[in-house]
């Protein structure tokens, strides 16, 4: 009888050309175990085989960069003998299949990347994207993901301090769960994942190895979704945050006591990845004693042991003389620990077994009964994995951004007469993407460790650094609607907005980590989006002088019939030299001047206003001038350092009106503005063109602030005053306004006038309503201080 089964390599997700490349590197046919090891290491997730040529173009160097791309996390020195480690990573497909465990293990995995470097994790940010919030499946996913992030982060004692929650139809079949972790380490504690010193022991500690997460990197993370999704559930890992907490403490103790040469966490591709990457970095090899790996259950096949993605495990490289001390630390934390191999000069990963009896003797030599199950050069699995030059093709139809300085077109001219701009503002504030996120972030412990200065919900997160005057400022941003129209612009925009969110607190952006969420790279249009996104990321980072210190690429984000909008998620960390100078986004008092820096540009495409009211089909997104953005951020940092700023908010989602409304809601005071709107009130009020700030300052400081802005070559105008219980924006004819609005039947005279209490009500209740979470105790947050 013959069975029409596909060849093994295809079942493992390897293409025929990849099998040929494996034969080339081995000089022979791989056996089944070797093929399984290649399949996970050559997965998109581990090998970056489609994106590697693009990522090489990114700017990665900076004076303070201690460790960068290629390490488990980026590390940047911040003075006072300290450094910050940070990285963002995706867990999209596991979360789509099993939202609680997918999100939980996403948190666990990125935390391990950070503490494996010797840093104590001090914060998590989570950037989440889902489809229609009124849809039952979306609600199931939101509930599970939020519980998963909280269930893990709350238990390990790392505060969740920020992130994003965005709803858009493009994520209906493929939600995004991107998690960023930040850690703090002392100089001299930096630990790299490099298997140096032949003869050293390879020590595995943490949880025992089981059958969970078999093929997670290849089957789940590196393939599009089809119709057989439930069958992929065994590929999702299961998290144990209690074990992770012990792992954190044990790892930091091992490093503090100087007991280890190197540490790497076990994530995607499990033991195979950890031993091959650490060996490859050092130019060494490893003899792996398969029999020595602690297991959860009997009967595991060798390939299952080698590629299992069981969570909460670490590999340390240990000098033989320190093994007893290492074992004592792990046992004190109740963690299983075992020597599972030896570092060798010969640069091969060799998997040995003596049928359960132990394949290596106490000197690390194979015992007589040892059989070799696999032998692969470490570099063939890691740095010399296959790389593809994918085909890139620009889609035929593509809307473009208007050129910088283009006139505001009448197509932007909403709201028309009879449409109360105040009603539009209330609708925006209560919309799923702009309303208060408190129903979600209140499920996360945001203040454990006693460092949280600015809690989630109001722009960037701020964490003081104990024993210093300094603070870290962190944010995530990713603009997909603009990227769907122009992927270069979407990526550059995301970097600009993330950096702006840091700069407006007074902090200096230190470095960028990124999670590139794109579609199937074998589709030329999707690959073009990725290529353009990486180009935009690089251009923006170069223009703003911020290095890229690491990140992650998540491709194949497609469900049957649809790909996600390209979503370049940017994580950023900045340094505030003196936390006492911190500026927040809430109005600080009455009768203060409101100064607008920057000017509105044409284009409503990609905005929240477009989502609500639509935009003309020929309209594009507003342009981004990176040089102006750089000057804007330099200006605001200088203004804050000179004490000229009471509060500051950038214009982003929902435009200027939403920015001012948020400052009023959070400050508990109203404002009165006179805004020149020219021909296009919608662009002026609700357009999201970047490089704009709303700055609150004392009236006596307004002239100095304006002077400073002009010195930086920025348009600036004092547009109003804080105070009262209402937000009033009077719309006036601007430069060149000649009554054209009246001719079109619109009126620029309709003022926006809404009580702050109404703004707050809309903002506070929007998300609960969208998700159907309304319950008395889940209701209104406290908007004012």
């Amino acid at each position: 009888m013959t069975v029409d089964a596909p060849p093994l390599h295809r079942a493992l997700g390897l293409a025929d050309v990849e099998l040929d490349a494996i034969r080339d590197r081995l000089g022979r046919d791989p056996n089944d175990l070797e093929l399984a090891m290649f399949s996970v290491m050559w997965s998109e997730h581990c090998s970056y085989k489609s994106s590697r040529p693009l990522l090489r173009t990114l700017p990665t160097t900076g004076d303070d960069v201690v460790a960068g791309v290629g390490e488990q996390a980026g590390v940047i020195a911040i003075g006072d003998g300290l450094a910050v480690a940070f990285k963002i990573e995706s867990h999209n497909h596991p979360s789509a299949v099993e939202p609680y465990q997918g999100a939980a293990t996403g948190v666990g995995g990125i935390l391990r990347d950070v503490f494996a470097m010797g840093a104590r994790p001090i914060a998590v940010l989570d950037a989440l994207r889902f489809g229609d919030p009124s849809d039952a499946r979306t609600r199931h996913l939101v509930d599970g993901v939020v519980r998963g992030v909280g269930g893990y982060g709350n238990c390990v004692g790392v505060p969740t301090v920020g992130g994003e929650l965005v709803f858009d139809p493009s994520y209906q079949g493929n939600p995004l769960v991107n998690v960023m972790a930040i850690g703090l380490l002392e100089d001299g504690k930096l630990t790299r994942a490099s298997a140096d010193g032949p003869g050293n022991l390879v020590v595995l500690y943490g949880s025992a190895t089981g059958r969970d997460g078999i093929g997670g990197a290849s089957v789940l993370a590196s393939a599009t979704f089809g119709t057989q999704d439930p069958s992929k559930r065994p590929a999702v890992q299961v998290g144990d945050p209690f074990a992770e907490k012990l792992l954190i403490e044990a790892t930091l103790e091992l490093i503090a006591k100087g007991l280890v040469v190197s540490i790497q966490d076990l994530g995607a591709a499990g033991v195979t990845c950890a031993v091959s990457e650490t060996a490859d970095r050092a130019g060494t090899g490893v003899l792996v004693d398969l029999d020595a790996i602690p297991r959860r259950e009997p009967g595991l096949e060798p390939f299952e042991v080698m590629i299992s993605e069981s969570q909460e495990r670490m590999v340390a490289i240990v000098e033989p003389g320190r093994w007893e001390a290492v074992r004592a630390v792990c046992q004190r934390w109740d963690l299983p620990v075992a020597v599972i191999g030896r570092v060798t000069e010969e640069p091969d990963i060799v998997v040995l077994t003596a049928d359960g009896a132990g394949a290596l003797d106490t000197d690390g030599r194979p015992v007589e009964a040892a059989r070799e199950l696999a032998r692969i050069p470490a570099r063939a699995l890691a740095s010399e994995a296959i790389v593809f030059e994918r085909e890139s093709r620009q889609p035929a139809r593509r809307r473009a951004a208007p050129a910088p300085g283009a006139p505001l077109e009448p197509v932007d001219a909403l709201p028309l007469r009879g449409q109360d701009p105040g009603a539009v503002l209330l609708a925006l504030l209560g919309s799923p993407n702009l309303s208060s996120r408190h129903p979600v972030y209140e499920q996360y412990d945001s203040n454990v460790q006693s460092n949280t200065v600015a809690a989630p919900g109001r722009g960037a997160a701020v964490l003081r650094i104990k024993g210093t005057t300094k603070a870290l400022v962190a944010a995530t941003d990713g603009n997909a609607p603009v990227g769907a129209i122009d992927p270069w612009l979407g990526a550059a925009w995301s970097v600009a907005e993330a950096a702006r969110n840091v700069s407006i607190t007074g902090a200096r952006p230190l470095g960028v980590t990124n999670c590139l969420n794109y579609g199937d790279p074998t589709r030329p249009e999707a690959f073009w989006q990725l290529a353009e996104g990486v180009r935009g990321l690089g251009d923006a980072c170069r223009a703003l002088g911020v290095p890229v210190t690491g990140g992650n690429v998540s491709l194949y984000n497609e469900a049957p019939g649809s790909a996600i909008d390209p979503t370049p998620e940017i994580g950023i960390v900045g340094l505030l030299a003196d936390v006492a100078t911190l500026v927040g986004p809430a109005f600080t008092g009455d009768d203060h001047a409101i100064v607008l820096v920057g000017e509105a540009a044409a284009g409503l495409a990609g905005s929240e206003y477009e989502r609500l009211a639509g935009a003309a089909p020929e309209d594009g997104p507003p342009a981004l001038d990176l040089e102006r953005e750089r000057r804007l951020q330099a200006f605001i940092r200088e203004a804050i350092a000179r004490g000229l700023v009471g509060s500051c908010q950038d214009v982003s989602g929902g435009g200027l009106a939403v920015a001012v409304a948020e400052m009023a809601i959070w400050g508990g005071t109203g404002a009165r503005l006179r805004l020149p709107v020219g021909d296009s009130p919608a662009v002026a009020l609700f357009g999201e063109s970047p490089s704009r700030l709303v700055v609150e300052t004392l009236p006596r400081h307004a002239p100095a602030l304006e002077l400073l802005a002009r010195h930086h070559g920025l348009p600036v105008e004092t547009v109003g005053t804080t105070g009262g219980a209402r937000l009033m924006i009077e719309l006036t004819g601007g430069r060149g306004a000649t009554g054209a609005a009246e001719e079109r039947g619109g009126s620029i005279a309709d003022a926006l006038d809404v009580p702050v209490a109404d703004l707050r009500h809309a903002w506070e209740h929007g998300l609960n309503r969208a998700l159907g979470w309304d319950a008395p105790w889940a209701g209104a947050a406290e908007g004012a201080r």
Partner: protein, 253 residues
């Protein structure tokens, strides 16, 4: 000389960092007490911090009560020494029977982390003596199982006996009923913290130790930490605590 206050470290404790910071700001010398140690290292008060001791997979605090250090904590409490449990520490004390009542899952069945307002019900106890007034005191909660529960007779007795130490209050300063947002977890009669019959062991769900510096959003918790430190000093010097009752009086009540 600063007084030594023990911070019990279970595997899974995670507010130990906050407890150490809070006690330091309050002027004490924090001393880590590892869960496997029976010796209390000569401390004059004990703080059980928040977290997820032993993972809390079965029920919050249920495993931790059996650890070696807890036998010593119970003995210390029996000798009249001041003991304060915060959050998971409160849950451990309740499971161990050292304070009355039980902490059930939050009314909303979700973890809750946000600022709450507390009112101190008595200002003459070892845990409230340094408060300038009843409040309201602003500090965060962060827990999944914080709904204070006891039967009506027990609640009546606790109130009559002056053993309810803190309650959740709304913006109007009135006690927040179980269905109000100001009551984060549905606690009966708005109870956020209680003490034992003798008066030397107390627990509360909110985190005064994380509200000890204005830069963290509030320093209203400092009065509670200072009270513990002053009580520790008194206990170290005299072997007794003011604001508590003699064992004989407790037995009679």
């Amino acid at each position: 000389m600063s007084v030594r206050v023990g911070v019990v470290l279970f595997p899974g404790s995670n507010r130990d960092i906050d407890a150490i910071n809070g006690l330091t700001v309050a002027g004490a010398e924090p001393v880590i007490l590892w869960h496997e140690q029976a010796d209390l290292d000569g401390v004059s008060a004990i703080l059980l911090p928040g977290g997820f001791a032993y993972g809390d997979y079965l029920r919050a605090g249920v495993i931790a009560r059996f650890s070696p250090v807890m036998r010593s904590v119970a003995a210390f409490a029996g000798r009249g020494g001041p003991v304060l449990g915060i959050c998971n520490g409160f849950q451990v004390l309740a499971e161990a029977g050292l304070v009355p009542g039980a902490l059930l899952r939050n009314r909303g069945l979700r973890f809750v982390c946000r600022q709450v307002s507390l009112r101190a019900e008595h200002l003459d106890t070892p845990f409230t003596r340094e408060l300038a007034g009843a409040g309201p005191l602003r500090m965060p909660v962060a827990h999944g199982e914080g709904c204070y529960f006891a039967d009506d007779a027990t609640l009546d007795a606790l109130e009559a006996d002056g053993r309810v130490l803190w309650r959740y209050v709304g913006e109007d300063g009135e006690v927040a009923a179980p269905d109000e947002r100001a009551n984060p977890n549905g606690s009966l009669r708005g109870i956020a913290g209680v003490r034992n019959a003798a008066g030397n062991v107390a627990g509360l769900m909110p985190h005064p130790e994380t509200a000890v510096e204005s830069i963290l959003g509030s320093d209203d918790g400092l009065g509670i930490l200072r009270s513990l430190v002053v009580s520790a000093r008194e206990y170290a010097q005299t072997g007794e605590l003011s604001g508590v009752r003699a064992a004989a009086a407790v037995a009679a009540s």
